[in-house]
């Protein structure tokens, strides 16, 4: 079946512009996560959605970052007034927590470059 997809695969933007990154999780997965990976670094947790519950935003680095998940499926991560330090690969993952396997399925990521 289809895996997690993300778009665009690459995004180059000028400093100060807003960007939107999209994630399509695996159908039926109730949990959705956003991570950020800077060059040569590990993954940094950003935000987590579970069903209709309020998202856990504890990992968002600033109020310029926000995310929403519509209809319990597609999610959009928005970065306002982008800064050069926002340049990174943004990874989305989904998971089915019902079977207690806790495995996360990752998309290919969106590489964001802020010039």
């Amino acid at each position: 079946g289809a895996g997690v997809s993300q778009s665009p695969s690459n995004k180059v933007t000028e400093k100060g512009k807003d960007v939107e990154l999209r994630c399509d999780p695996i159908s039926g997965h109730t949990a959705l996560y956003w991570y950020r990976q800077s060059l040569g670094q590990g993954l940094e947790f950003l935000i987590y959605f579970q069903g209709n519950s309020a998202p856990d935003k504890s990992g968002l680095p600033s109020d310029r970052f926000s995310a929403e998940r519509t209809g319990g499926s597609v999610s959009t991560l928005t970065i306002q007034r982008t800064q050069q330090e926002d340049s990174a690969v943004y990874l989305c993952a989904s998971s089915s927590l019902s079977d207690a396997s806790y495995e996360q399925y990752f998309g290919p990521g969106t590489r964001l470059t802020v010039t």
């Binding site: 997690v4 996560y33 940094e44």
Partner: protein, 114 residues
């Protein structure tokens, strides 16, 4: 907060040998620990999960150990192949949260030479 240490230096081994990667953590003991593989330009792929009450878990040529006293997990690849070359990430659950949010280590790059 949890801190995870993986050897940031690349591990170079000869084909056929056993690769051993280390993951050390501080602070609380996680309920479970996961290992992922990441290839360049791709998202991580899940390999194995080991729970706090398990000492060892195996899957084909992979073996993971979990020592909660030492706060360490070891990841072994036996009979390594050049196709095993990748970055391997260790990840821990964030302090018994119900949402399976993970804290990742920085990863160790493995290079298997033919």
């Amino acid at each position: 907060s949890q801190k995870i240490e993986q050897n940031s230096e690349a591990l170079n081994i000869q084909e056929g040998k056993t690769a051993t990667l280390t993951c050390n953590y501080t602070n609380y003991s996680p309920a479970y620990l996961q290992w992922y593989r990441q290839d360049p330009g791709r998202g991580p792929v899940f390999l194995l999960l080991i729970r706090e009450n398990e000492k060892e878990k195996r899957k084909e040529r992979l073996k993971v150990t979990f020592d909660t006293t030492l706060k360490q997990s070891l990841f072994h690849i036996t009979a390594s192949q050049p196709a095993d070359s990748a970055t391997y990430l260790c990840a821990l659950d964030q302090n018994n949260n119900a949402g399976n949010m993970l804290t990742f280590g920085g990863g160790t790059r493995l290079m298997v030479k033919p």
